[in-house]
Symmetry: none
Subunit: 400 residues, 2 copies
Amino acid sequence: MPDAYQQLIQINTSKIVMVILDGLGGLPCVPGGETELESADTPNLDALAARSSLGQTIPLAPGITVGSGPGHLAIFGYDPLENEIGRGALEALGVDFDLTSDDISARGNFCTLDADGSILDRRAGRLANELGLPLIERLRSIQLPGAEVFIEPIKEHRFAFILRKSGLQANLKGTDPLQTGVPPLPVMAGDAASQPTAFLMNTFIEKARALLKDSQPANGIMLRGFAKLPVILSFKEKYGLHAAAVAINGMYRGVSRLAGMQVLDVHGSTLADEFDTLEHAWQDHDFFYMHFKKTDTCGESGDFEGKMRAIEEFDALLPRLLALEPNVIVIGGDHSSPAVMKSHSWHPVPLLLYARTCRPDGMSQFGERNCAKGSLGTLPAMQVMPLALAHAGRLEKFGA
Amino acid sequence: MPDAYQQLIQINTSKIVMVILDGLGGLPCVPGGETELESADTPNLDALAARSSLGQTIPLAPGITVGSGPGHLAIFGYDPLENEIGRGALEALGVDFDLTSDDISARGNFCTLDADGSILDRRAGRLANELGLPLIERLRSIQLPGAEVFIEPIKEHRFAFILRKSGLQANLKGTDPLQTGVPPLPVMAGDAASQPTAFLMNTFIEKARALLKDSQPANGIMLRGFAKLPVILSFKEKYGLHAAAVAINGMYRGVSRLAGMQVLDVHGSTLADEFDTLEHAWQDHDFFYMHFKKTDTCGESGDFEGKMRAIEEFDALLPRLLALEPNVIVIGGDHSSPAVMKSHSWHPVPLLLYARTCRPDGMSQFGERNCAKGSLGTLPAMQVMPLALAHAGRLEKFGA
């Protein structure tokens, strides 16, 4: 089916905005009660819902809880099963590192080893950022034959590690044994094609240990989440859209960059700052992805009230989006994060689709119960982009 | 899944009627208002809905607007992506031409050329039918080496063109440049396998031009929509059904013939004439497809009121269908055609399924909002036939 869509793409001057309220879907905190979204006071969303079609998306498949990477790929219209983004690649994308298809990325972290090489602290005492930077400079001096290495600080003990050499494969096991008192594991290849990569990684780790041996508490490193970047079509190639991303957190910026979006600078860290960015760039793009993190952060920390407030914060700013008069507005999420579960969940995610051509379903509140009864039905997240394109007049008729 | 269904087919004496109100799905003409179907006064449909299950079908995939060809294939249970019917083949089927799998069909039309061979009128002044017939006789005299040619008048300047020769391929570009003042294009092959076909087509066009050179205003021809017929299982092979089609317009008769249905003669051109045909043939078949065109014609011309009236016209005749006491009645559409859009659209299509075994969903009006909430849910059109077969007792249990 993806190919069929692509043949039907036509270009026009319409604008589409997709707002992802991260982890939007919720659960009541008392049996039969209201969810975070249903409890929130959202006059603007409700008024928009009355003019919109509602539905609920299934990120990957019923019962499957997704991470933010696959959740975003799905709602962007890419099959997350065919395009797995490893954790290492997400981290590298998240620090705005310009990954190539040759690169093997990993999550790196400093650790504390004892004299025998056993782990004393898997996170090197959550090393302060300023202590990590000179150590990263030291690691950058390490040479590997025929390969380039890039190391980018993330936060505290964590860094992104990128090995660049043509033809490398990334079927590798990480070195963190997830316990103290034992040495880090060597990098093990899961297949013959990944053996040369394992060798280079282990060589690097040995050289790092030699260089860091006097740098307590960060006298060792561990690598995990080895990944090559999946190669996916850009939004331009796939949909004919000049897409832009308005997102603050690294990973979401990274996934957008992977999809070929121009990742816009947000000056500040609030929702209002994101709206500033949207307004400023409005003339330059025909598709905007806006990401709001707080809904998920509150969901994952079990803060029902906080998630409600985050939704209300978005609701209060929604008129700024409406004032731009996009042709199509999609408001949804990458997955559910019910506060009562303190985690991501598999529950379907509320979806609102506004366009002049949407068939209103007579519901005037944006919430889980209404979305489950909405005229868009319960649909795979991957089908949201085709619907948005259709309502934007960007899909030709199929067949006579 | 199609194969799984086929293994379960069992035969009985039940009768199924599938009514396709072409382009049934609509949109309100004011925000939040009622659609054509919702506004129409349909006491008989509403009473039937109260005893039926409702749902909405997606012809091909969310967001995809289909033509009538793929829309019908889908609701007949064939995958429109695997079985594409080109326009030329549809036209030939539509004039009751008995296409074989060797044939390459095209839409043909007379045009007016100037002395230099440039197009003056792409439709030869919409040549009167009686003027076209002798010219078609003249074209029929043209011989091509090793091939047969068939030409069937359609209407005014249009005719169906069929080239029959074993092993031909149809990846060809049409000759209509879609503008005047330039000569028609030559037939161009899109791949090497289609080169011999292009050669034969161009030879025919040259010979036609020589034969027609004194026949103003129809002194040239153009061909487009080249297509071979997809080979699909008949309703008998696929479902064990002796199917009949009650349709007036050529294309719908053609698609039915492709699916192996017996296309019944309708004496007249009204809905009532179609009901006459149905009643007359009632004993001879166990599946009837009835097609009503006016809903789509009004939708495509932006006539909201007309579409309402067409639905009401069907509603008034519905008791004649009910009096035959079919075991299963399906009332739906091949796609939506909202009058406000003046075109086909991608919106889901209302579906009503009546049978004694249907689970009523407590809704007593047949309309888009109710269908979106119906117990059949939002389902691919391809799943309607299996549901109809099940309710007709024509599908065995799978597994013990």
